[in-house]
């Protein structure tokens, strides 16, 4: 795929890049048509993670997205969000089509380009739909009203006599009397800013929202035309391979590049810790990198895969209370039963099939770059900082991303690539090998969750003490109506031997596993069915409704479903969505091997914009979740990551993926909630509980391996 073809494929009809800073200026540089601008400051929407939404920059508040109805009647929608498989390229267009009354195929989504699109902090936290849908609908409604006004003049007809339909303004009484959006915007340049929420369509009038729509980018993806960062080839481009240390924290003792240098056409860089071999043939570059001889000083390992949990408890020293209700000490004292346990979760890799990649070239003093990033604007800033050049000298371009899951929020490869492009003066590509990916992509942190619960003989939970080491507070707020609750989040600065960070619903996979496992243990202590126990303790009508829906869809009667078979339940809350998962498994009691038989997932995500897309995301999350629940674990000794490829890092595969049924408590009048992350959080807990009911093995550590099951049975 050559550079000139990329424009043709992905930038159809989009204006030439304009300056990124002083965003109001770029409106001036756009062509004609009707342009609707909308900004966060008009509405109280959060665009960052819940923890740091106060730190919004001026740029973020200035202008957040816009759409342009062009003179040919097609509509460009510009957003700083990116598409990485979560399907928002489709669902955002769907929302726009609905409110603006235009066909889906007239919409061109322009995403994540730092010069074409308004600022966005990043695509994470299942925020795209929650944050953008209301804004997009408001902008579309504003555009629609403006088009009515224009049509009223053109058709000499009162606005009240007109309606918007399929890209036209049409007379309500004489449908032959109509004018297209294209005709109305031709020769015009109208810029409108929305300041007050305009009148939106009612759910009962929806034609497109709520319809199952297949991904609009599918054809590009099945034909190999979808372009990812490492597919870009620029004239004269060098492929870079970096010499990496064998462990995090290792220091370079000596470096001999003489054998590498003998390869014709090779460029060797050794600057500020960046050691790279570059060549216009990637195989030669790799060979040169291998031929560099480096000696490293590896610091003594302070922990490994086996000792990490003890290490966490010893070194995590900073705690804060995130929830406190009643008095947990008194609650425990008065409880007729106390149940206490620790739950453990090892490090997990994102393991996107596309590794981190960046391709960059200087055009004059300006760096133009493609990067497999969930944060194009953050990457622009990081690159500008690293090169010490102004923000407007870096342009991150739109691209497809081969999976992110939180792992492409931070982009070290982009900085490496930018530096090498400057040092060599040539276009450069850095595409990490799978080994580098396991080494430098941050991990979901290993964590320990300590739970101490009090329960009365009648099944009422009376106290819940939740100490969460290294998993964070997301999704931990009590929904079991426990009168006495204390939740503490404990972290430490030097706990982990390598970088850790967000991983699809950060922390919530671990804490939901702990809570939902423990709820089952507590239910058993008082002799209750785990589902009935949950219904007894949960008052929230939305959660009860979702639980009932899951129960009915599954046809649940009892947790023990047959010989060596069991059904596990887990409930969770994430990104505004309520999830209930019922998972049935079968265990081979000889080997401890778990075979998932069936999963039923009920969710309340408010308005379901694209029911088809929501199912795809849910199935995907549940399937991915089977990996962390049953197989995924990182082996390491100190900073040396021993798990380096898919031969030792098992993820979910075809053969273990059971039938999955997804159902929704669809409330078309409610605001839409998160869809990309929530479902996955329940997999660990549901599988742990199912394993227990199948064979009596209570495994408190993920992954729930055959060995741990056999040990629990022994």
């Amino acid at each position: 795929m050559k550079e000139n073809q990329i424009h043709q494929l992905y930038f159809d009809n989009v204006d030439q890049p304009v300056r990124s800073i002083n965003r109001r200026n770029f409106i001036k540089k756009l062509g004609g048509g009707l342009i609707i601008v909308f900004s966060l400051s008009s509405f109280a929407f959060k665009s960052r993670s819940e923890d740091d939404h106060d730190k919004r920059s001026d740029e973020e508040l200035d202008l957040n997205a816009y759409l342009r109805i062009k003179e040919d009647g097609t509509v460009d929608c510009y957003t700083g969000k990116i598409e990485m498989g979560q399907g928002v390229i489709t669902s955002l267009a769907q929302v726009l089509a609905e409110e603006l009354e235009i066909p889906m195929n007239t919409i061109n989504m322009v995403m994540g380009d730092t010069e074409l699109c308004p600022y966005d902090a990043g695509t994470w936290g299942s925020l795209t739909t929650r944050f953008f849908d209301p804004l997009l609908r408001a902008a579309a409604a504003e555009a629609k009203a403006e088009l009515l006004k224009l049509a009223s003049v053109k058709l000499q007809c009162a606005e009240s006599e007109l309606m918007n339909k399929d890209g036209f303004v049409v007379s309500k009484t004489d449908t032959k009397r109509k004018v297209s959006y294209a005709e109305l915007t031709r020769g015009q340049k109208i810029v409108k800013t929305i300041s007050a929420p305009p009148k939106l369509k009612k759910a009962e009038d929806f034609k497109t929202i709520g319809q199952p729509i297949i991904s609009t980018d599918a054809i590009k993806k099945v034909t190999g035309q979808a372009v990812y960062t490492s597919d870009i080839q620029l004239p004269g481009m060098l492929y870079a391979y970096l010499k990496r240390p064998p462990a995090h924290g290792a220091g370079l003792k000596s470096l001999d590049v003489s054998r590498a240098q003998s390869i014709p056409g090779v460029t060797i860089i050794n600057e500020d810790g960046l050691i790279a071999a570059l060549h216009n043939d990637p195989l030669m570059a790799e060979e040169a990198m291998v031929k560099m001889k480096a000696e490293w000083e590896i610091p003594e390992a302070k922990m490994n895969t086996a000792s990490i949990f003890e290490h966490i408890l010893k070194t995590a020293d900073s705690s804060r209370t995130t929830e406190e209700k009643g008095d947990v000490a008194t609650g425990l004292q008065e409880a007729e039963n106390i149940v206490e346990a620790n739950y453990l979760d090892g490090y997990k890799a994102h393991a996107s099939i596309e590794t981190h990649a960046a391709t960059a070239q200087f055009e004059g003093d300006k760096l133009v770059m493609w990067a497999s990033t969930q944060t194009p604007f953050g990457t622009r800033e990081a690159v500008a900082d690293a090169l010490n050049i102004p923000l407007e000298k870096v342009h991150i371009k739109q691209i497809f991303i081969g999976g992110g899951f939180g792992g492409k929020i931070y982009n070290q490869q982009a900085i490496e690539c930018a530096k090498l492009a400057r040092l060599t003066g040539k276009p450069v590509q850095v595409a990490w090998s799978r080994q580098e990916e396991f080494m430098y992509d941050w991990f979901r942190p290993a964590a320990v969750v300590k739970v101490k619960a009090g329960v009365q003989n009648n099944g009422r939970l009376s106290a819940w003490n939740f100490d969460i080491y290294c998993a964070g507070p997301r999704g931990t707020q009590d929904f079991y109506n426990i009168p006495n609750v204390k939740t503490q989040i404990v972290n430490g600065k030097n706990v982990h031997p390598f970088a850790t960070g967000a991983w699809r619903a950060p922390g919530n996979n671990t804490t939901t596993f702990a809570r939902e496992s423990h709820i089952d243990v507590v239910a058993e202590r008082v002799g209750m069915d785990p589902l009935e126990f949950r219904l007894l303790n949960i008052e929230d009508p939305k959660i009860r409704k979702t639980l009932q829906l899951a129960k009915e869809t599954f046809g649940y009667t009892t947790a023990k479903t047959g010989t060596n078979r069991g059904c596990g339940i887990a409930i969770g809350a994430d990104a505004g969505t309520i999830v209930v998962l019922l998972a049935e498994v079968e265990i081979d009691p000889e080997t401890g091997v778990v075979k998932p038989l069936r999963m039923v997932c009920a969710q309340d995500m408010g308005q379901v914009v694209n029911p088809h897309g929501a199912i795809v995301q849910t199935e995907g999350g549940l399937t991915m979740g089977l990996g962390y629940a049953l197989y995924e674990d990182i082996e390491f000794t100190g900073g040396a990551v021993e798990t380096q490829n898919f031969d030792t890092y098992d993820i979910a595969k075809f053969a273990i993926t059971p039938p999955i049924e997804c159902v929704f408590v669809d409330d078309m009048n409610a605001p839409p909630q998160g869809g990309g992350e929530p479902a996955i959080i329940t997999v660990g807990g549901a599988i742990a509980n199912a394993v227990y009911h199948a064979c009596g093995a209570r495994v408190n550590q993920m992954p729930i391996t055959p060995q741990r099951i056999l040990e629990a049975l022994a």
Partner: protein, 159 residues
Amino acid sequence: MEQISFSLNNKTVMVEANPNDILLWVLRTKLGLTGTKYGCGIGFCGSCTILVDGEAMRSCGMAVSEVAGRQVTTIEGLAIGDKLHPVQESFVMHDAQQCGYCTPGMIMNAVGLLNNNPNPSREEIIEGMNDNLCRCGSYRRITNAVESAAKQMNGGSNK
């Protein structure tokens, strides 16, 4: 360096390469066909799957000399003009891809599977596809897509 010739997507190509050069990189860089993806480099993920004489193979573990004189098909060579291959069409209809990165390898593996066994059972599809990895978790949709493509190719309807 040697001149190595083979049929690529039904056209004869001549490429100057070291005989041991890995086919994946020759396809991607020297021949400009970037639909075939790198995923793991050790044949464990299947993103680099192509067809050699109609059989699904991992291009990340093959030397370019191994395909000399043989017929290589990549994802770019599957459709005839605008007419998608039934497996591609079925992937679209079933929305059997999310991020799309593993998709070319999945499709090529499925075509290879159907070349060997035009009428596979669901279990045979799962077994034949099992060593291709999809992190987005589209396995069930892919299985459905391959199942209905097989039916359609055998003269049935691809629903």
